[in-house]
Symmetry: C2
């Protein structure tokens, strides 16, 4: 059995499960950083011990621990550099502390990489030899499974959200201009929607005011046929397609798996328009065999991301 | 020992060599397609037999044959689909014919992939774990060595010359618009130069007329400080940098190795300006460790590309 942690934007998810992704016990709680990393980690260890007891897993049948964490991490030293949601954390030797507590191999993984592995092992990308995963959440992270294993490059590979799609274009959260994320990342798109949504529009009505418009309201209004919402989604698909076109020529993958916003928008509003754009803009020899799928793990995603990170501890 | 063939734009290069890239015998001749693929291949086989005899290699010490060939190939069936320089070739079972002749494993490789492998094994990329090679020749082909082995995707990976760098931009030879190759490929750049070079300019003088201007004349004029040539190279570096920026975020590689035109332009006119643009446009955690190097195999490149393809026959 394996223990996986997923340090999310606001919540911590912990799971005990097996190599087939069967979750024996799970727990989710708000991330409560006390400003003391050692105390934070001790609380995580206590949670995991409680889960192991709940699942009836003896200490000697635990094979590894994994942690999916927002970058940056130092995979060699096993340290978490400074996750945005954990106040006071800086170069925390998470791998060492978990190894001392559980006496098993520990693996830290960038959260987008862990999510890509989870979709590849257990979700929409099962059986793919070459899978490109895009988180499509507040930011646009990426995970690359190539020839059946995660590709990390020198440590920071897969930052597909920062490929330029419009040179010197709109400002991205990273401080650069024209990144894919500046157009299709949830945070950047929300800022645009709150500026551009017309008062009195269907999107504004669903959001309780134009200044509160979010991607979910655009998706809902588009389902009702609202013109502003459809135009916004069209623009979003256009920019996302620019990224997928570049990635298709570079990787010739089997499948793109798209997360949060794309999964919520679904086939008609997002995946089909993307498939059309791919075929229009990429040579048939490449475009014809590439599938575009929505991430399929839903509520289980953080637990399986943590477990997938844990399974990597046996790959070293 | 190994035999490698490189089917180039106008010439065929054949080499007999070892796994360390030491060439024992070599031959280069014009590509003479007789319209009869079987006769063409028999001539290649006769050439190789003569080279093996010249190098004193007994038939039983030959370990494999490799062919670097302009795509498309079918790597599974071992067929060459329709190389542009071989009239009458269509789905030629090259691997089968060579296997019958030499009774050893035969491997066909896309020419950009074979060149990438050659630079990685024997040239500017030796020792790199993650290498991105760009041909920078008449077209812009790419070869990706990731985690120490060639990545082919579903067969067509590495077409980095067709990443969009200006959406709906200039027309590319492939029929699409805005491809990297449309801006920095030798064929496309030459067409632009022959349109844009001012009569009476230094580039026109070196070329014997503006309508004959080529990249090599721009490089020569730029060395003399000519303003038009420097502006053209600046533009060329700008667009190439767009491609390298995208690839840096995606791959976080150890090294970019750049071929023909970049190698000819050299450090001051090309590699240094590219390094500056990479540092300006990519996060320091990625940009700071990436090296940009010129391909270093020079005249030996086609022979070593063929031998590198041959060495892959042992990797299957």
């Amino acid at each position: 059995m394996w223990v996986g942690f997923d340090i999310g934007g606001t919540k911590l998810a912990i799971a005990v499960g097996d190599a087939e992704g069967r979750i024996a016990a799970r727990r989710r709680r708000p991330i409560a950083a006390r400003g003391d990393p050692r105390a934070d980690v001790d609380a995580m260890i206590a949670d995991a011990r409680a889960l192991l007891a709940e699942a009836g897993v003896a200490a000697d049948s635990l094979r590894g621990v994994g942690v999916a964490v927002p970058g940056p991490i130092d995979p060699v030293r096993g340290t978490v550099e400074s996750p945005p949601n954990l106040a006071g954390w800086k170069s925390v030797p998470l791998a060492d502390w978990f190894r001392e507590a559980f006496d098993v191999p520990v693996h830290l993984e960038n959260d987008a990489n862990a999510a890509a592995l989870a979709e590849w092992r257990f979700g929409a990308g099962q059986g793919a030899r070459h899978l490109i995963y895009l988180t499509m959440s507040t930011g646009v992270g990426g995970g690359l499974v190539l020839d059946g294993r995660l590709y990390r490059g020198a440590g920071g590979a897969g930052e597909v959200g920062h490929m330029p799609v419009e040179w010197d274009g709109e400002l991205c959260g990273c401080g650069r201009r024209g990144c894919l994320e500046a157009y299709v990342g949830g945070r950047c798109w929300t800022a645009r929607l709150q500026r551009e949504t017309p008062d009195g529009s269907r999107v504004a009505a669903l959001a309780g005011g134009a200044a509160r418009a979010k991607p979910e309201h655009v998706v809902a209004a588009a389902r009702e046929g609202d013109a502003f919402a459809l135009a916004e989604l069209d623009r979003w698909n256009d920019y996302l397609a620019r990224g997928l076109v570049a990635l298709a020529f570079v990787f010739d993958p089997d499948v793109f798996v798209l997360g949060t916003i794309a999964a919520a928008a679904g086939d008609e509003l997002c995946l089909e328009p993307l498939r059309r754009r791919l075929v229009e803009n990429v040579w048939p020899v490449i475009a014809n065999h590439i599938e575009i799928r929505a991430a399929s793990l839903g509520e289980d995603a953080p637990y399986l991301a943590g477990l997938s990170a844990a399974l990597e501890s046996a790959m070293r």
